[in-house]
């Protein structure tokens, strides 16, 4: 959610603040096959997940620097048998603990153990509002299971946070998705349009909605906000392809976010590992303090000193820090370029071309079959995005 970044946006940027937000990607393994999965396309090549003890070390060292929000994600974090002990350690250290799950693997026994471990919140993701579409988009039979997971989450007294990634194939079901959120008594609902990284970049033409679809969905969300806003807090995240200014990605590189990948790489954001020419430190051999304050990987794009034109002389550079480095790399082929979402970027046309194509329903690029995330496809594609 965007709340965190808003709350801390007032920080003094001259000095490096603490990594307030720690994202622990416990595993890339996942029983689902989402077509917009944000994991690296070549995830199947990574080996050697961190051990329980190594995660304890990460949690301890990050907490000492001031990390306080801790997210456990993946892949599917429930696939780690030691999830409960890792959560318990995070809780003991004083973190606010968030579990981001597809709900697969959640049962009475484990949810009870997680509660006992001190887990503060579970974010449950749905792929769509109906069994057919949910199961089609994740290439699994998981819808009923998720409904049961929602009931369990409620019964155990957790705040109910529902997430649904939005794209061309489900955006027209927005009313039904909101209805589902209301049925499961969600207190926070995140309707986040797909961001085009990882598998979503592979399937971009098939996933980007048209302007008309987007406007309709936003209008309906606003209507629900007006009528249900008291009960459910609704977040609607527009795809940045439709914007003229880039997002302030990760609230600034190395500013508050620290991601640790399943195999122990420390990243300023969960997609940064794709960037060429940057060594990201390994938590097995470096302390979080060295990683955060001293490593090349975290210092390279901190602040504004690394910028080129048009960013370096831009009056807005403190506002968005030039946008997303990964998007600059994927689209402008230069991680230090302006994010091409910005209409001051000389390559902004590479974004508008994709957007223009999205207005023509059924064009050749859109009707290509979707590529599902999976280990076989990962090894076949053998590329980061």
């Amino acid at each position: 959610m965007t709340d965190l970044s808003e709350a801390v946006a007032v920080q003094d940027t001259a000095k490096i603040g603490p990594p307030l937000w720690l994202l622990a990607e416990l595993t890339y393994r996942c029983p689902l096959h989402c077509v917009y999965c944000y994991n690296p396309v070549d995830f199947a090549k990574t080996e050697d997940e961190l051990t329980t003890e190594q995660w304890f070390k990460v949690l301890r060292e990050a907490r000492e620097l001031g990390s306080v929000q801790c997210g456990f994600s993946g892949g599917e974090p429930m696939l780690r048998d030691d999830l409960e002990v890792i959560v318990a350690e995070a809780h003991r250290l004083g973190y606010y603990t968030n579990l981001l799950t597809s709900g697969v693997g959640l049962n009475e026994k484990r949810i009870g153990a997680l509660k006992e471990a001190g887990l503060d919140h579970i974010q449950l993701s749905f792929q769509d509002s109906t069994r057919e579409m949910n199961d089609f988009l994740s290439s699994t039979r998981t819808f009923d299971l998720k409904r049961r997971a929602a009931d369990m989450i409620k019964a155990h007294g957790y705040p109910m946070v529902m997430n649904c990634t939005i794209h061309r194939h489900n955006i027209d079901h927005i009313e039904a998705i909101l209805q589902l959120a209301s049925d499961i008594d969600a207190e926070y609902v995140e309707l986040a349009n797909t961001q085009y990284y990882g598998w979503a970049q592979v399937n971009r033409d098939q996933l980007l909605p048209s302007r008309e679809q987007l406007e309709r969905a936003e209008r309906i969300t606003n209507e629900w906000r007006a009528t249900h806003g008291n009960k459910m807090k609704l977040f609607f995240v527009v795809p940045d392809y439709y914007e003229k200014r880039p997002k302030k990605c990760m609230n600034g590189w190395g500013n508050i976010f620290l991601t640790i990948t399943p195999d122990g790489k420390a990243l300023p954001c969960h997609t940064a590992r794709m960037l060429p020419g940057l060594e990201f430190p390994d938590v097995r051999t470096s302390s979080i303090r060295e990683i955060w304050y001293e490593s090349e990987g975290f210092n390279r794009y901190r602040g504004t000193g690394w910028m080129k034109e048009p960013c370096s002389s831009c009056p807005e550079k403190e506002k968005d820090y030039g946008g997303c480095r990964c998007q600059a790399y994927m689209i402008a082929n230069d991680p230090a370029a302006a994010d091409p979402v910005c209409d001051k970027s000389p390559l902004h046309n590479r974004i508008t071309e994709v957007v223009d194509r999205a207005q023509i329903a059924g064009n050749a690029a859109q009707v290509k079959p979707l590529i599902y995330r999976g280990p076989k496809e990962s090894l076949q594609l053998d590329r980061p995005f």
């Binding site: 709350a7 606010y96 919140h121």
Partner: protein
């Protein structure tokens, strides 16, 4: 509901307040989010324990900080905090 000195505020169900040395501040934590509190907000909120009423909170603050006339400020803050669902009122 109208807030009076007899109102008993309690930090909201989905929120947790804690002192963070790294930020030198109280923070309010909730699902995937955080609000850094300024000193007075922190001092008021940490007293919202579901037992003390507003009058008791005001008295405690006035003693602790050797100040007077804080009631209006506390009432105004509790009203704002309730809108944000940071506190539940009974």
């Amino acid at each position: 509901m109208a807030i009076t000195t007899a109102t008993v505020p309690k930090v909201g169900r989905n929120f947790r307040i804690q002192w963070e040395p790294a930020q030198d501040a109280y923070v309010l934590l909730y699902p995937e989010g955080m609000v850094k509190l300024n000193q007075s907000a922190g001092e008021i909120l940490k007293r919202c324990d579901g037992a003390a009423d507003v009058a008791a909170i005001v008295a405690d603050l006035e003693t602790t900080f050797n100040a007077q006339g804080l009631e209006a400020d506390v009432l105004a803050f509790i009203e704002l905090a309730e809108q944000q669902k940071w506190v539940d009122l009974t």
